[in-house]
């Protein structure tokens, strides 16, 4: 039996997979027999375990030798121990019962006089920490922390302690004191030890919820007292002293810097009030690190990126947020694709917080749409949708369509995502009737029609059907059919099923209009359906549409030979193997033979189609909460000047909390004055049927409608119906602190009895959108000012 080296060579020399397998299986069997031999010399034993590790890399099973690994650890020979521990770390995992065999050996070796043996034992315990091992061995780890002055062991013991806390939160009690004691010890700790301290601190923070004793506040307090130490360390690493041992391309130990920043972030998140006094210092520090890490190397970027994450996670000062967005913009404009990716990813989380600031860097985001890298493209697409609003929708959608043109076959998931979102946006922004939206849709259909789902295709058909400008509608249909009939310079691939479906539908539905305007001949239309039927007979989606189109067209033209051809198309499928198609064609064949009058009635033009908002209106069962509360208290809450103290107390109920603080709190906008000049002549708002009643009083009724809702944004319309004559109407609205509210225009401020007006609102943020509305208006003459207030909560989540 050869050496490890020759075994590896043999495996590598194998010419076929089968040959390799046979070598591997044979060797595996041989190792198994050899290891069973009790009298095998240690050296041979080690050789076999080496081979076993190689088998593991090849993906072979190695379970039969687990006990052998543990036996090696028991040996006093350092070579055996080292290999045994390595094999245990790699071949075992913490779920295996065999680990109990390790307890005694680890216990011995953690107290071994040789530091390297202790180190191996610590590494192994860290990798294979079963709850039992944690329970039995934590005191040995603590012993090292308490007595050892050897940084090499302390750094590993700290990491182990962190892992021990993960396994058993009650061990926080045992280990937490080593955080501060290691930080303030007389001699400066090595970076390895500091990494361990940071890790232990993170583990202690993470264990908070699981920790059962009531002294957590004191533990937390002691960790917070370490914050200045962390600051000093970061400060030190960012001062001018060059430290060759820890320098990484001009940045001092980015690993430790990032680890410390992350620890500080967790601490500040966990205890926002207790750390408040350190906030200014943190601001200064982050600014300093950001200026210091201004390099072009990845190591500097890593630190800078962590700073930005800290800024937005802790929602620090405005000036820092601006700094953060600028750093990300710099990342985006750079050449390095990795920084581009992380920047896009972070901006996606920043958009709800700083929509305007992100908006400024649109140019760079759009550029990333055309990056060859799918990871970057995907992120750029998501970000583009996130920053989309009323004012830039046209431009951004054109960019997205340009993006679609350049997509390849293997990106069809991304394409489908983009198309669905764009069509959704057209509905949401009520753009279905706008010319450019319709043309954009046709362009989209032309480029990626094969990836559009049937459901979205029918949305497109509805858009065409509902187009209000008839001339334009005909133009659009003509453009589509010109391309389909190969009368245009543009062309569409034969795989574009979506396009064919839409074409077939247009031929059937608008055949009469097309013939009246002498755009096409009746034979052309019939011929097109027949060709489609022939070419795509195995695609049931197309066949279905062709059948409907044939039936419809038959009622729209006079030429008997064409009608006969259409009948043949339908008849041809009455024996189709697809049950759905068969049923359809049999039923259509009956309809086909009805008297012309009846047929015409049934197959008339489609009426305007109202699509129900799918996600907008809650089901009848779930009524939104409508609350009316004491106005005086609520007025106070809405008031900007109301003191902040409410934010501190959770007991006062979520409402108090939500409307607590002034700066990020209620977004209030007065619309009254802006639109007053518009006067009542503009007032022709009707309340849609699916709007839900939110509030009623003698003077007015209020209805709410959720127009759309997605990950970050909800669009809401509020309809006010006047029961009496109302003037100088003002709407004030507020949302909870975690959200942002943008008020659109109020359509009218003066209402006669029976008239309506509409207020649009946009809410960004997470959770269920809750609104507090205050309405101020004058009634009667002499006029009396009335104020009404109510809360409204939507059942849908952002």
């Amino acid at each position: 039996m050869g050496s490890l080296r020759s075994f590896i060579k043999d495996v590598r020399a194998a010419k076929t997979l089968a040959e390799e397998r046979s070598i591997v299986t044979k060797e595996s069997a041989r190792i198994r027999t050899k290891l069973k031999d009790d009298h095998l010399p240690q050296e041979k034993r080690r050789k076999n375990i080496h081979k076993l590790l190689y088998l593991h890399i090849l993906g072979e099973k190695t379970h039969f030798a687990q006990v052998e690994c543990i036996n090696l650890i028991a040996s006093e020979d350092f070579r055996d121990k080292r290999l045994g521990y390595l094999a245990a770390m790699i071949l075992l995992d913490e779920n295996q019962e065999i680990l109990t065999l390790l307890t005694n050996m680890l216990n011995n070796d953690l107290n071994h006089p040789n530091r390297y043996v202790v180190s191996l034992a610590l590494s192994t315990l860290g990798s294979l920490m079963s709850p039992e091992l944690a329970r039995d061995l934590y005191s040995d780890v603590e012993n090292i922390l308490a007595h050892s002055k050897d940084d090499f062991l302390v750094k590993k013991a700290l990491q182990c302690a962190a892992k021990l806390i993960q396994r058993d939160a009650s061990l926080v009690e045992v280990f937490h004191s080593y955080i501060s004691s290691r930080l303030v010890s007389n001699q400066p700790s090595s970076h390895g030890v500091l990494l361990g301290v940071a890790k232990l601190c993170q583990a202690t923070i993470a264990a908070k919820e699981m920790y059962e004793y009531d002294n957590y506040p004191e533990i937390l307090q002691s960790m917070i007292q370490s914050v200045p130490e962390f600051f000093a360390l970061l400060q030190d690493m960012n001062s001018t002293n060059f430290n060759p041992e820890h320098d990484v391309a001009g940045t001092c130990d980015p690993f430790l810097q990032v680890e410390l920043l992350y620890t500080i972030r967790l601490l500040f998140e966990l205890a926002p009030h207790e750390t408040e006094s350190y906030k200014d210092k943190l601001n200064d520090l982050l600014t300093k690190i950001a200026t210091n890490s201004d390099g072009t190397k990845n190591s500097a970027h890593a630190v800078l990126y962590e700073c930005v994450r800290t800024i937005f996670a802790l929602q620090l000062d405005q000036s820092l947020k601006v700094l953060g967005v600028n750093v990300l913009a710099k990342f985006l404009s750079g050449k390095d694709n990795n920084t581009k990716y992380v920047a896009l990813n972070t901006l996606l989380h920043v958009v709800p917080q700083e929509p305007q600031a992100v908006q400024k860097h649109r140019k760079f985001i759009s550029k990333c749409l055309f990056d060859p890298d799918i990871s970057i493209k995907t992120r750029a697409v998501e970000l583009t949708f996130a920053i989309l609003n009323n004012s830039n929708i046209k431009e951004l959608i054109e960019e997205l369509i340009a993006f679609l043109k350049l997509t390849s076959e293997d990106e069809k998931d991304l394409v489908a995502y983009v198309v669905e979102h764009i069509i959704g946006l057209f509905e949401q922004y009520k753009l279905g009737n706008e010319k450019w939206a319709l043309e954009a849709t046709v362009n989209m259909l032309m480029i990626v029609g094969e990836h559009i789902s049937l459901e979205k295709l029918s949305d497109i058909l509805i858009m065409i059907n509902n187009a209000q400008d008839l001339n334009h509608k005909v133009q659009i249909i003509r453009r589509i059919l010109d391309i389909s009939f190969a009368k245009s310079e543009e062309s569409v691939s034969s795989a574009n099923v979506g396009w064919k479906l839409v074409s077939a539908w247009c031929v059937g539905e608008y055949g009469d209009t097309l013939l009246e305007n002498n755009i096409y001949l009746d034979t052309e239309l019939t011929e097109y359906l027949r060709t489609l039927d022939g070419l795509y007979s195995d695609d049931y989606r197309i066949t279905g549409y062709v059948l409907t189109a044939a039936l419809k067209l038959s009622s729209r033209l006079q030429n008997p030979s064409c009608i006969e051809e259409l009948r043949q198309i339908i008849k041809g499928h009455t024996k189709d193997t697809n049950l759905m198609i068969q049923t359809k064609s049999v039923q259509y064949a009956i309809l086909f033979n009805l008297p012309a009058k009846e047929k015409h009635d049934i197959l008339g033009a489609m009426p305007l189609f109202e699509k129900k908002a799918k996600n907008g209106v809650p089901a009848a069962g779930s009524k939104p909460e409508v609350k009316r509360q004491e106005p005086d208290l609520l007025l106070e809450l809405l008031d900007d000047d109301y003191p902040k103290k409410n934010t501190a107390s959770n007991t006062a109920g979520s409402l108090l909390d939500i409307f607590g603080s002034a700066p990020q709190g209620p977004a209030e906008t007065e619309n009254g004055k802006d639109s007053e000049s518009l006067g009542p002549s503009q007032n022709s708002v009707t309340i849609p049927e699916d709007a839900l009643e939110a509030f009623q009083s003698t003077d007015l009724d209020v209805h709410m409608k959720l127009k759309s809702i997605d990950d970050y944004e909800a669009h809401v319309e509020m309809f006010i119906h006047a029961n009496a004559s109302i003037n100088s109407l003002q709407v004030l609205a507020a949302v909870s602190k975690s959200k942002k509210l943008t008020l659109g225009n109020l359509s009218a401020t003066t209402l006669a009895p029976g008239e309506n007006c509409c207020q649009e609102m946009k809410i960004t943020g997470g959770g269920k959108p809750k609104l507090r509305i205050k309405l101020t208006f004058n009634t009667g003459s002499p006029s009396i000012t009335t104020t009404e207030q109510f809360d409204y909560k939507f059942e849908q989540k952002l």
Partner: protein, 156 residues
């Protein structure tokens, strides 16, 4: 934060040269992950970014000569750019140890590659030492312990 779920070394032909798992994955998942990632990473072009989204987490990889170093990291707490530096530090350490490391060094001396890695990453994939000198010092001292052990035996 550094919390690496696994580190895989894969050759340009898609062969696994080293694998170390820091989170619990059973053998089925392990082979699935290494198979799928090898295909995904090998298919990427040189200029593309080094970050992938895979299953519920992210993957950061970097190519050095004929070897790809692939790391699974958690999506929200890990710093993707820093992970690249972790990989680089490991490669630097091996480069010094083997004196200009190449794929063959790692194939034939995979235990050494593991041992160097064990001085860089511990427990659930967190970094324990950032100084290259310190990493090399401990690995080399342990090497010398092995040979002196050998010597002791010969002498006794």
């Amino acid at each position: 934060m550094t919390q690496i779920k696994y580190m895989l070394l894969v050759s340009r032909q898609g062969k696994v040269r080293l694998m170390r798992w820091y989170s619990a994955y059973d053998s089925k998942e392990r082979s699935k992950i290494s198979r799928e990632l090898a295909t995904m990473v090998l298919a990427r072009k040189a200029k593309m970014c080094n970050i992938l989204e895979y299953q519920d987490h992210k993957v950061v990889y970097k190519r050095y000569a004929s070897l790809y170093f692939i790391c699974g990291i958690s999506s929200d707490s890990d710093n993707e750019l820093l992970t690249l530096e972790v990989i680089h530090r490991y490669v630097e350490a091996m480069d010094s140890y083997f004196n200009n490391v190449c794929e063959l060094d790692i194939i034939f001396n995979f235990t050494k590659a593991y041992e160097i890695l064990n001085e860089v990453l511990v427990c659930d994939g967190s970094m324990t030492e950032t100084s290259k000198q310190a990493i090399l010092r401990s690995v080399m001292t342990m090497d010398s312990l092995e040979t002196s052990d050998n010597l002791d035996q010969v002498l006794s």
